[in-house]
Symmetry: D2
Subunit: 358 residues, 4 copies
């Protein structure tokens, strides 16, 4: 990697760089290789992930058959990117790896597109749901990620960007919002007007759950230990907010879980007979007592969910356009200032997404 201090590359400069300006030598090979700007995990550092982050030139992607290259216009940051810098969910032989799961951009024909982040295994063609394919991966796990000027993905991973959404807004949707979308609409069949409890207001998926659940006509109740987060949850559409573990006014039809151990017992007790918990994460721990007697006696369901399909991303985009849902963005900055965005996420000082532009 050619050293390219992000401090010395102001956004205005980055925006002027054309493809031809980036040719050079890479990895000792003498041949001319097209280069582009990218934000990369150069190594792993579990204690100081920021120190493993590098900005600089990386080779342009050369897409194999059935893949295509887009020009990235915006990309958003996820905790997944910080975990990668720490070495979680990726092995060292894949380094250096361009970070980033989420992106919007422009394809070779000039169409505005959003990128589906789940790449199925080529050998799994015909698998009905790519998220059930054990060989699937997210961008930046096996294939290079989205924090770069250009990005190669399978052609079918491109989804049209509705005109009503900006590139910045659209780039927020493929991971956290898609996860919330599948939890709410793909994993449980709730008629509008149902009551849904979202545990742990403040998290990225929880914020998406509130916005999307409310926009579909549900009554959303949230919990948080933090009064400020409870207030913000109500501001963005929650019907009521409660302290973690509080007794609710009535039993709910469904609970959306991303917290795990700290809220599991409350989630089970909150459900009406026949109700459903949908879970896509367990940030406080994965091993609460299962309380199986309650599960069978009240005929509850616990349903795991992860990410979503390409077709669900397309519907999510149309849903946001139709219903006026706009993702909550905490801050937007040029990609060459990515370290500041990572810092904000690591410090926990965020309400909404960090978006990088190009």
């Amino acid at each position: 990697m050619i050293g390219w201090s992000h401090a010395s590359t102001p956004g205005s400069l980055l925006r002027q760089i054309g493809r031809s300006a980036l040719t050079g030598t890479v990895a000792g090979r003498a041949a001319r290789v097209l280069l582009m700007f990218a934000v990369t995990a150069a190594r792993f550092d579990s204690a100081d992930p920021l120190s493993a982050l590098e900005l600089g030139e990386r080779p342009e992607p050369s897409p194999p058959d059935g893949w295509t290259t887009i020009t990235v216009r915006a990309a958003s940051l996820n905790h997944h990117d910080v975990w990668t810098l720490r070495g979680v969910g990726i092995s060292a032989d894949r380094l250096p790896m361009i970070l980033g799961c989420d992106a919007s951009g422009v394809d070779a024909d000039g169409n505005e597109v959003v990128v589906h982040a789940v790449v199925g295994d080529p050998g799994s063609a015909g698998v009905a749901d790519e998220t059930l394919d054990p060989a699937r991966s997210l961008l930046s796990e096996r294939y290079q990620g989205t924090f770069a000027q250009r990005l190669a993905v399978p052609s079918r991973n491109l989804v049209p960007k509705p005109a009503a959404l900006s590139f910045e807004q659209a780039a927020c949707l493929p991971t956290a919002y898609l996860t919330a979308y599948r939890m709410l609409f793909g994993k449980v069949a709730l008629e509008p007007g149902s009551t849904i409890l979202v545990q742990g207001a403040g998290g990225g998926v929880a914020t998406a759950l509130i916005l999307l659940g409310r926009a579909a006509g549900h009554r959303i109740w949230v919990t948080s230990r933090d009064e400020a987060k409870r207030e913000r949850a109500v501001t963005i559409g929650a019907d009521q907010a409660f302290a973690t573990g509080a007794r609710l006014p009535e039993r709910v039809d469904a609970v959306m879980e991303t917290v795990g151990e700290a809220t599991w017992s409350h989630s089970l007790k909150a459900l009406r007979p026949g109700g459903t918990i949908v879970i896509s994460g367990a940030t406080s721990g994965s091993m609460p007592p299962a309380d199986l007697s309650r599960v069978f006696f009240l005929q509850l369901s616990v349903v795991g969910s992860t990410m979503g399909s390409r077709d669900q991303l397309a519907r999510l985009l149309r849903f946001c356009a139709q219903a006026g849902v706009r993702p909550v963005i905490d801050r937007t900055m040029p990609l060459d200032q990515a370290p500041a965005g990572f810092e904000a996420m690591i410090s926990g000082d965020l309400f909404g997404k960090v978006v990088f532009t190009l």
Copy 2:
């Protein structure tokens, strides 16, 4: 029935009438019977239904075990009421019959309630879905209807009225809007952001389909032969409106049908492979060619729907409250001016519901 010309009973008078003032003699019986004001089908007239309408005093209901009486505050008019005057769907031995399926009001404990219009057969206890009970009936078919000062219904047919909805608004929901709600959300599992074609913009159920479908985040396309109706459909939330039978920009996920023969072929051709038509009526005729080859080759589904359940009405009310959906009301008038409302419906000169108040 005591003759009581509606012309001589201004709304202000009606509102002053107390229960005690209405005692008198009914049907030749000497005993004191409590009377109330009601709008009644006194006979059938298929050519001039309005001539079969009578306003006057009827006995107060005496609810059997498990039933309860509410004080009606608002009731809305449906085509069903005109059909009853014509003698359709009811036999002469049930006359005189108080008309009206839809009502909101106040129960004996002062709670504000909405009335579910479907009454199951007492012998069908335990039937999972009252709308599948062949012995079910709508209010004003077997049991006296809602166009009266007081109404008796099974206790479980009462659903709480959300404070966000007025009595007038709530009284619009139990028939047309509930029918639309079940079609959209109970009979097909569409994730928000789906594309739904509503045939026949302008009808009462079609208007409800547009409002509810849009409020749940779907993209709603409508058809009508009438340009004014197409324009109004867009005004209340349809994404696009097309002339009846027009080629659509792309295939849709689902079609909502209430028209029947005049649109059936178009509905089948509009669907993507695997798509669904939900049908709850066939105003233009019931016998179009079925086109079975298209149905099986593209794996389409045709799903019949009628009314909805008590629990669906409760969710519909909460949905309207949460999503800010308010039914379209064409006009509101005191119940003793009901003939003017019937006239407007018969002449077809309506966009939205006619609501009677008490």
Copy 3:
């Protein structure tokens, strides 16, 4: 209760007793009351449940409106009956209580019938699924049970007995087999030819799961710590039997759980991505670690189930008749020898049901 030692009442005598012979005085009332033979929990004894069992005369039932009385011809024993003698799931003010959930018999018109054991709350009319009604009860919990000459139940709780099944066979189905039926067919949609793991071969529900699952065309794998039970499981239709916790040849589509803590971790690991555990009991404990990360990452489902509906019992009976399924019966004896049946169940020395005849 009139003392009536079961030792002095041989089966042949019981069979001769007519209704009229049983009149006498009960509970100090001077009036003539019709009496019948019954097996009753007279008190609770958690250490020695058998000592709480009494055989003798009890008043004939007098069914309220909407209920009917049948002449019992066969009844089967469940662990539930032993728990009742121990005082679990019932309060002392309901004593004496005739035991028994399961029965077949003859109704007043001479029809051969099977009794659905779940009685909904009268105030819950219109509840779609009686097993979701929190006020429901099983026979012998609130209402008198089936171990008696005559039994009163709501009329809709009677289901026709197919001629292909004997009274003894039919009396085995309403609890354990109905529970298994709903687990397999009501709580998960598995196409025939799926692979299902049944944990804990040997239990009553597990035996029913093997018979019913196999008869519907599934591949049934079972586990047990006991080699004899594994062998018997294969004899009655399991495809393969494994030691508890053993590594399986491949991942399964669904797991049927009644064991709980001792097998939970194995059940989760046995599932393919997207697979389902259905659970209706947890005899080894209810609080295993939930392993939420596995649940969400592999998108597993955990679905609680309890009993079944009246309509499911009717289908179960037709299924058994059509598919030639006959419940496994360990022994059959006259009702007045019930203590011997209870003893066998308490000692655990059973493979299949204990049936009492009248």
Copy 4:
């Protein structure tokens, strides 16, 4: 095509032909090309389809990337093959086309396999259900069919053949039986013990519906105009057989339709409220009146179905192995006697499948 009269090629000879013996010249090319024996549509003849059938040498397949070649051991005949000879469903530029959709055989590693007949479009990778892909085709439509010594298919189209099924039996399943399997188990959720009406006993799919529906524990009623067919239907497992259009003892849960116009009205009237018709063909015509009023008032569903997925074929095979289902075979003959099999099918003189062996 090299002329090779089937009369001069006895089965014993065919079985001795090795791959090396079949090299020669094809289509004027001088190069050595490996040849194999195949049964081909050489042209179209709508009046005399048999005259368009040719037996002789065709080039060995050369599978592209992701495809594999199997040695065919058995193949079964479908009406589809006769339609192809008539020029229905295929265009002349694809001639000559090796016929046959169904096959079993041995793959390159010696595994016994069954071939899934639906080939998705390569550009449709990631389509959840290949039968919903408008660009899909059946073997012998775009790609060469199964009536040949060797066959190339996408690797994922191979499914393991259970040892319990012979090659001949397994070769009957991929079209008619898979169609029936999806109709019964994929398109409607019926608990075992349901009552299913199969219209038109005697057809290939109808026979499969009877065998598979019965093996899954349903009560199967059938109709036919032909008494002999009704009797045979009962022999293979139907519970009762009725004359076409006859009044049934009670309403059914579902109807399986392949007849269309001649039975459609009866099918709609046979259903209980909320029941479902599944349709996969319309041999008597596709345009009966739709009777929409009945559909919506009784909340019926009409669900189209075509073929099945690769995973469904795998489950079907396991189901047959577990449940002892064996397809009904009318006759088995060596592939070089294929014209006799076609003649039997065209004359309608069949009960069960015609199987060709190699």
